[in-house]
């Protein structure tokens, strides 16, 4: 596959790895956070850590939009889905995220009709095909996904579709990064910047990281060579004593982002005063809601959602994992009480969650890796 396979070449990886190793100062430990869950997924799925010297640690950040949805919002969604005549649509990743009384699959087993869709537009198609149902799209995601929801709302308005609404859970990446940077228990040497969010917001919004916090950040693509190259670029900046915003993913990410997409978001959505992030607590201006102009597409207004705040399970240490304070396996319930089949925290649900990625792909040590290559 073009633009995919080229970036999985093992010999180039070895070359980059050698260069990275060459840049390591003896005795120094390096910690880089990949903000985006997509990167976490790539890292474990391709075994990328095998190329890194032991002195470099990758810290998995809060950039998995599934992982940061608080339990209360799942409960609210199920509450909406339980209303008579409601057909809810959702991305597949959401289906297993636990609310306080089960996930969407459990809820379906009890009688709701929550269907997976590939695109928000599919929800519109379903709405057209089921005029006697109220179709509610469970919208989640960062700025990457918000434009698609926005375009779907605009299309629904244009077509005058009356049985469609959005339960809006879109969030924004910058406040989360800022919360991480402000957290006292964390020491990071730099950031692997979220590639696909940046196709929309561009690279400028990260400038405060370099400027105010003195940390380098490299916006990275999602193939393993992309990430390895980004780490190399971070190491070069550290070596040079620079802290800048760089764009490894320039084939896809324009420096200025996507203005059409930003306009679509701005037309249909506005910032919420605050929003709860799982494990991170309330973060102000960190999420989007449907603008009052499009109130008739706002499921939160149409349905009287309980909006109860549900405390995370006691055992759950997702907050620490999302902030990069703990490695997944350091959580006390990791892999025993908390597994992909019985997740306690959300990081164990999405394939982009740090715990799930580590459990599914990374659950054995590098020493054993070396021994486990076939003849």
């Amino acid at each position: 596959m073009r633009f995919v396979d080229e970036y999985r070449d093992a010999s180039q990886a070895r070359a980059l790895a050698a260069k990275i190793a060459g840049l390591c100062e003896p005795g120094r430990e390096y910690k880089f956070m990949e903000v985006c869950g997509g990167h976490t997924h790539t890292i474990y799925k391709h075994g990328l850590e095998d190329y890194l010297p032991e002195s470099i640690t990758l810290v998995h950040g809060p950039g998995c939009p599934v992982c940061v949805i608080p339990m209360g919002r799942i409960d609210d969604a199920i509450h909406i889905a339980r209303q008579p005549g409601v057909l809810m649509t959702s991305f597949g990743d959401m289906m297993r995220v636990p609310g306080s009384d089960g996930n969407f699959f459990d809820s379906n087993a009890e009688g709701t009709n929550i269907r997976m869709v590939y695109s928000p537009l599919d929800s519109l198609k379903i709405a057209r095909q089921n005029p006697d149902q109220q179709v509610v799209f469970m919208a989640i995601g960062f700025e990457t996904t918000a434009p698609s929801t926005a375009m779907t709302v605009l299309r629904a308005a244009k077509e005058g579709i009356e049985n469609f609404s959005v339960f809006c859970n879109h969030i924004t990446i910058i406040p989360a990064i800022k919360a991480i940077l402000d957290s006292p228990d964390l020491r990071l040497d730099g950031f692997i910047g979220p590639g696909h969010v940046s196709t929309v917001i561009g690279c400028r919004p990260y400038e405060f990281i370099a400027r105010d916090y003195g940390k380098p950040i490299v916006v990275a693509g999602f193939e393993p060579l992309d990430i390895l190259q980004s780490i190399y670029m971070l190491m070069v900046q550290l070596h040079d004593g620079r802290s800048e915003v760089e764009n490894q993913y320039s084939r896809v990410v324009p420096w200025e982002g996507n203005l059409t997409a930003l306009r679509a978001i701005a037309e249909t959505m506005e910032l919420r005063p605050y929003f709860e992030w799982r494990g991170l607590g309330f973060i102000s201006h960190s999420a989007l809601q449907v603008r009052s102009k499009y109130a008739r597409f706002d499921a939160e207004l149409q349905y009287n959602v309980p909006g109860v705040r549900v405390a995370d399970p006691k055992a759950c240490q997702c907050g620490e994992v999302l902030k990069g304070v703990l490695k997944p396996w350091e959580c006390k319930v990791f892999g025993t009480a908390c597994t992909p089949e019985t997740p306690i925290g959300t990081c164990m649900v999405s394939p982009e969650g740090a715990c799930a990625a580590y459990y599914n792909f990374g659950r054995f040590t590098r020493t054993r890796v070396r021994e486990a290559s076939i003849s």
Partner: protein, 90 residues
């Protein structure tokens, strides 16, 4: 969640200029190109697809330049390793 896949534009649908048929490794689907500027993509262009929308057009020049860099260091590394091996044999 932020899964994005590169696909090649095959045609812009004549009756729906906000839709394009793309090819991903032999598999075809209509996607929405309303987030790109009008006329920004044409058949043969590559786009990044996310949840049924084209999020950006792939910049082939940028891709080529980056790839040349990667290939360059890859080549240099292989040469070095080869040289190392030869020196050991001797």
């Amino acid at each position: 969640m932020c899964l994005g896949i590169p696909g090649e534009v095959i045609e812009i649908l004549s009756d729906r200029p906000d839709l394009a048929r793309v090819d991903v490794s032999g598999v075809k689907r209509a996607i929405n190109i309303g987030l790109l500027d009008e006329g920004e993509v044409k058949p043969g262009d590559w786009v990044l697809i996310h949840v049924g929308f084209a999020l950006s057009k792939i910049d082939e020049d940028e891709a080529r330049a980056a790839m040349e860099f990667l290939e360059g260091i890859g080549k240099a590394y292989e040469d070095e390793i080869a040289a190392l091996r030869e020196s050991q044999i001797l």
